[in-house]
C-alpha cells in the first residue's frame, strides 16, 4: 500500500455536475458558452487552439489573479480576495472587471442609419429604428427556428451603431451580421480597444472622479467622454444587477485607465467567478447555458426585449428570423419557461441537474450555484409552462437523491440601476 496506489482525482468532480477539471480546485476551464448549444468547454479543442492573452494579462498576474481558459482567452477567474468576497465587494463597493474578450463591433451605415436599422431588424425581434441617439438596448440574434444565436447590447451612437457580443460567439456573429447587413452597413470588429466593466454602488463616484460627465448618464445611456486625451466609449449598464458602467478603452491607454480606476476608493479587481454569481443573482442569462439555439426568447422569459413595434399590430410587426414561432409563442404561450429556482437546504444545484414533478421529468437546471448575497443556493432552469409559477414545488435529483426545489421570482435580488 502507498500513496500512489489509487485514483488520482480525490477531490474530483462528477460529470453530472458539469464542471470539468482534474484534482482539487476550480475548474481548469470556466463553464461558459463555447459554441452554440453545447455545454461547457471541449478540452480537445483547447489543446489545439492557441489561447489568446488579454492586453491586461500582466496587470492581472501582478494582482495575483488565477488565470483560466474561457472562450479562447486566458481570463482572470478570481483574485486573492476569492469569489465570495469579490461578489460581496461588488455589491457593497465597486468591482472592476476586464471583459476585453467580448466582441466589439461597429456597424457603419452605407446609406443612412435608418436603412441599417431596418436591415438589423431582420436579424432581431427588437425595435432598432426606435432607439434614440445616445441610448443602448438589449438585443437577440435569432435563427429561422426562433432559437437564439446570441444575446448582445447595441447602441445608437448618432451616425452608427456599436454592438457588444459574447466572446464565444463573436466570430459567428460577425460573419452573420456581415452576410446579412453588408448592403446596408460596413461591419467591422473593433480590435484596438479593450472593454472594462465597473459595477457597484461606488462605481459612479469612481468613474466621475476620472471622467467628469459619467455621473450624468442614466441606465442604458451611452456617451463618448475624454480621459487623458483618449476617447472612452461609455455605457451605463452591466451584468451584475448593480448600477455601473461598461467602458471601451483604446488598447494603449487600457492599463493606465484600469490602474487609475483601481486607485479610487473602494474599487477592487473582480474575476469571472464572481461575475457569474452576480449575474445569476440578478437573474441574467448566460449564453450557451440559459439560452442557446434550442431556446426561444419567449421560453427564456425575454419577451420584454421585444418592443411593441415588432409584435402583432405593431408598426413593423414580424419580419425577423424565427418570427413565426416567436410571435405564436408570444400570443399563445410557450411549452416551457425559464424560471428561478430555490433549492431547499444548502446544497447548490448545478447546471444539468434534472427536475421532476412527482415522478415525471420536468426539465433541468441551466445555471446554478451559491448566491453569496442571498446566502443560499440559487438556480435557473426550464420547466413546463404549467409548473412555471412562483411557488411551484418540484424535486431535483442530486447525487441520486430527490431534493425539494421551489420555483422563485427572478431576479433573486432586486437590481439597483439608475433609471
Amino acid at each position: 500500500m502507498g500513496p500512489g496506489r489509487r485514483r488520482d482525482n480525490d477531490l474530483r468532480r462528477k460529470g453530472q455536475r458539469g464542471h470539468r477539471g482534474a484534482g482539487i480546485g476550480l475548474p481548469e476551464t470556466m463553464p461558459d458558452g463555447d459554441r452554440h448549444g453545447t455545454r461547457g468547454w471541449c478540452l480537445a479543442d483547447l489543446e489545439t487552439t492557441e489561447l489568446k492573452r488579454l492586453a491586461l494579462n500582466d496587470l492581472h498576474e501582478r494582482l495575483g489573479a488565477r488565470m483560466l481558459p474561457f472562450a479562447g482567452y486566458l481570463m482572470p477567474v478570481q483574485y486573492p480576495m476569492g469569489v465570495l468576497k469579490e461578489h460581496l465587494h461588488t455589491r457593497t463597493q465597486a468591482g472592476l472587471f476586464d471583459v476585453s474578450h467580448m466582441g466589439q463591433v461597429l456597424l457603419r451605415p452605407r446609406a443612412g442609419l435608418e436603412a441599417l436599422a431596418l436591415a438589423f431588424e431582420e436579424l432581431m425581434p427588437v425595435d432598432v429604428l426606435g432607439l434614440a441617439p445616445g441610448r443602448q438596448r438589449y438585443g437577440l440574434l435569432t435563427n429561422d427556428a426562433g432559437g437564439i444565436l446570441d444575446d448582445l447590447m447595441f447602441a445608437n451612437r448618432g451616425d452608427h451603431l456599436f454592438v457588444v457580443v459574447n466572446a464565444a460567439c463573436k466570430q459567428d456573429d460577425i460573419a452573420h451580421m456581415t452576410r446579412h447587413l453588408s448592403a446596408a452597413a460596413d461591419v467591422t470588429e473593433v480590435t484596438d480597444r479593450g472593454l472594462l466593466a465597473l459595477q457597484g454602488p461606488l462605481a459612479e463616484a469612481a468613474l466621475e472622479a476620472l471622467v467628469p460627465g459619467a455621473a450624468a448618464l442614466r441606465f442604458m445611456d451611452v456617451a463618448t467622454l475624454p480621459w487623458q486625451g483618449v476617447d472612452l466609449w461609455i455605457s451605463r449598464s452591466g451584468y451584475t444587477g448593480e448600477d455601473g458602467y461598461e467602458i471601451s478603452v483604446p488598447q494603449d491607454a487600457l492599463a493606465d485607465f484600469a490602474e487609475a480606476l483601481l486607485a479610487r476608493p473602494g474599487v477592487a479587481p473582480i474575476g469571472l467567478g464572481a461575475r457569474d454569481s452576480l449575474r445569476l443573482e440578478a437573474g441574467l442569462c448566460l449564453y450557451g447555458h440559459d439560452i442557446d439555439t434550442t431556446t426561444t426568447p419567449i421560453e427564456a422569459g425575454l419577451a420584454w426585449a421585444i418592443q411593441k413595434a415588432r409584435r402583432v399590430g405593431g408598426a413593423r410587426a414580424g419580419g425577423f428570423s424565427g418570427a413565426g414561432r416567436i410571435l405564436d409563442e408570444l400570443a399563445n404561450g410557450p411549452a416551457r419557461r425559464r424560471v428561478g429556482l430555490r433549492p431547499e437546504g444548502r446544497a447548490p444545484m448545478r447546471e444539468g441537474t434534472p427536475l421532476f414533478d412527482g415522478d415525471r421529468p420536468a426539465g433541468s437546471i441551466t445555471s446554478g450555484g451559491f448566491g453569496p448575497s442571498v446566502e443560499a443556493p440559487i438556480a435557473m432552469g426550464y420547466v413546463p409552462a404549467a409548473l412555471a409559477d412562483p411557488g411551484s414545488a418540484l424535486m431535483a435529483e442530486l447525487r441520486g437523491k430527490r431534493l425539494p426545489v421551489t420555483v422563485a421570482e427572478l431576479p433573486f435580488r432586486p437590481s439597483t440601476y439608475k433609471r
Binding site: 500500500m1 482525482n9 480525490d10 477531490l11 462528477k14 482539487i24 465570495l84 467567478g273 446544497a347
Partner: protein, 119 residues
C-alpha cells in the same frame, strides 16, 4: 501527520484517524459553501466517496483514504462550511475513522514529501 497525494491530511488521535484537507487544497477550492458528511457507523472502503464539498463555483468529492469505519463527523461543517477555509488543519476536519491496523498509515507521505508534491 500524514498526507495523501489527493491533499487530505490524516492525524492519529488515540486509536482513531482524523481526516481533513490541507491548506493548499482549501485555498485551491476557494470559499466552501456546502459540506455533506457521511453517516456515522458506516463501513467504507478506500476510494469510496464519503464527503461532498462545494465551493462557490465547483463541486468536489472527498474519498475515504483507507478502509475502515466512520465513527465521528464534524457536525459543525454543514452549518458553517467556511471552517474548511478558516482552519483546514483544525476546526475544519471532516471525519474520524477506526482502522483495523494503524500501520497502513506508514505508507502515506510525511510533511516534507507532501510539500515536495505541491511544490
Amino acid at each position: 501527520m500524514k498526507y495523501t497525494k489527493d491533499h487530505e491530511w490524516l492525524r492519529v488521535e488515540g486509536d482513531l484517524v482524523v481526516v481533513g484537507i490541507t491548506e493548499h487544497a482549501a485555498t485551491q477550492l476557494g470559499d466552501v459553501v456546502f459540506v455533506e458528511l457521511p453517516e456515522v457507523e458506516t463501513m467504507v472502503a478506500e476510494g469510496d466517496e464519503v464527503v461532498v464539498i462545494e465551493s462557490v463555483k465547483a463541486a468536489s468529492d472527498i474519498l475515504a483514504p483507507v478502509d475502515g469505519e466512520i465513527v465521528a463527523v464534524n457536525d459543525k461543517l454543514p452549518d458553517t462550511p467556511g471552517l474548511v477555509n478558516e482552519d483546514p488543519l483544525g476546526a475544519g476536519w471532516f471525519f474520524k475513522m477506526k482502522l483495523d491496523d494503524l500501520a497502513v498509515l506508514d505508507d502515506f507521505m510525511d510533511e516534507d514529501e507532501y510539500n515536495d508534491l505541491i511544490g
